[in-house]
Amino acid sequence: MTDTVCVIIGASHAGVNCAFALRKEGWQGQIILYDADPELPYHRPPLSKTYLTNTEGAQKNLLKSEESYERSEIQLNLGIEVTSIDSGERKIALSDGKVQAYDKLILATGARPLIPPITGLDNAKNIFPLRTMADVEGIRKALGESPKKNVVIIGGGYIGLEIAASLNKLGATVTVLEREERILARVTVSEMSEFFHSLHQKKGVDILTKKNVTAVETNTGHTIICDDGSAYFADIIIIGVGIRVNTEIAEKAGLVTENGIKVDAMAKTSNEDIYAIGDCTFHHNPHYDRFVRLESVQNAVDQAKVAAAAICGKEVIYDSIPWFWSDQYDVKLQIVGLSEGHDNSIIRKEEKEQPCFSIWYFSGDRLLSVDAINSAKAFVLGTKFIKTGQLINKSNLADTSVELKPAHLMI
């Protein structure tokens, strides 16, 4: 062990994977992880899905066992917030009053839930975002204590819809209030929005669109008031309207930030000794030739590995194709690529008992992205075609009598 120190701020998917990747790449010095969350680092995606519905999941949900950190000599400092960075002196200040010096610093600060400026939201009880294990415990406890189990979810994005499906399974009466004209408006086309809308309605979740919540009044429960004059009653309110990126300490340290902390292809910030990875970064994606900020496990893990390799002196660039997933009821949505900027799309609907279809997004003839519902085949094929840039035979793609196979799609 040498006396060089690599400090990582944030111990979620990006930070933890980076710590282990540093060891794998041969980093000989100390590795010190900090996170304000007191829990042993855990998987976040299951929080709104299986972890919410299954009470025995805590141990299974860990990113790594406690022993793994010890074995890899990774120091975990949990429940401690990093309050500032002194990039000149190369040290950080901590919430417990201490100071830690670093040789290399990695920012894996992630994001926090956005709490919208709704009157009455601030001091009311039983209002939760969902980002941490503590949020899930809070929701579970509130649900257990609520005789009526009336839940209103503000926001019809993926997180809101996943929570709706999970709470529906737990016996709650769930209403989703979405401000836009359709759910998932920001992230997908109307066909996909309609599919999820009707899926939830069939399961008994009430989805209401064009509902702009302006106030919450709290007496024995909550009354949620919208700007069209409508009002809804709930014992529990869940907020799922998006996130704010945690860039504050980076900004104060003078790092370049735009829509996130700006990094180069090796995940390095504007400071030679500071890297940034995961949800908090604004980085260039070579496949789409533009800067993006992504909220995903894939981005967190892959960027973590690139930063670790770069810090250990390897020539690497971050050029992953983004992918995402969402599980709601027995429906699996898998997304590969970024659909933004598409000018045409093809929907392929397989004839099966279960819903099984995929939406292929193109810019001209170039495939940008695929949304696959219960169709891992479409997800995998989409991944391969985006990777190679190979053009696709669109008429075969649209024709479900032609089997979905690489050979059938090639031109």
Binding site: S68, S72, V297, K332, V380
Partner: protein, 102 residues
């Protein structure tokens, strides 16, 4: 209780015992090199790929449809490939030997 043996790509042989959960979870808990389980075990990432010995296929069973499709992401997948998050630990798989995919 089932004994499960992992052979990693750096030729380590790791013998573990488990009685519940998935093979991926057992491997991650014990830091088996090459099994990442990035998605947490929901068959979404294909980072827990193992090759089952042909004679053990009866014990583990074959991959499901979605699993087979996801395995296509890996050019090294073959007829004995499984995603270890989809193999449930029970007495039925006692003694299996799994080679972690490269």
């Amino acid at each position: 209780m089932a004994k499960i043996t992992f052979i990693t790509s750096d030729h380590q042989t790791i013998e573990l015992e488990g009685d519940s959960g998935s093979v991926m979870e057992l491997a991650v808990e014990h830091n088996v090199n090459g099994i990442d389980g990035d998605c947490g075990g929901v068959c979404s990432c294909a980072t827990c790929h193992v090759h089952v010995r042909p004679e053990d296929m009866e014990k583990t069973g074959a991959a499901s449809e979605i699993e087979t499709d996801m395995l296509e992401l890996d050019d090294n997948a073959d007829a004995y490939s499984r995603l270890s998050c989809q193999i449930v630990i029970s007495d039925a798989i006692d003694g299996v030997i799994l080679t972690v995919a490269k």
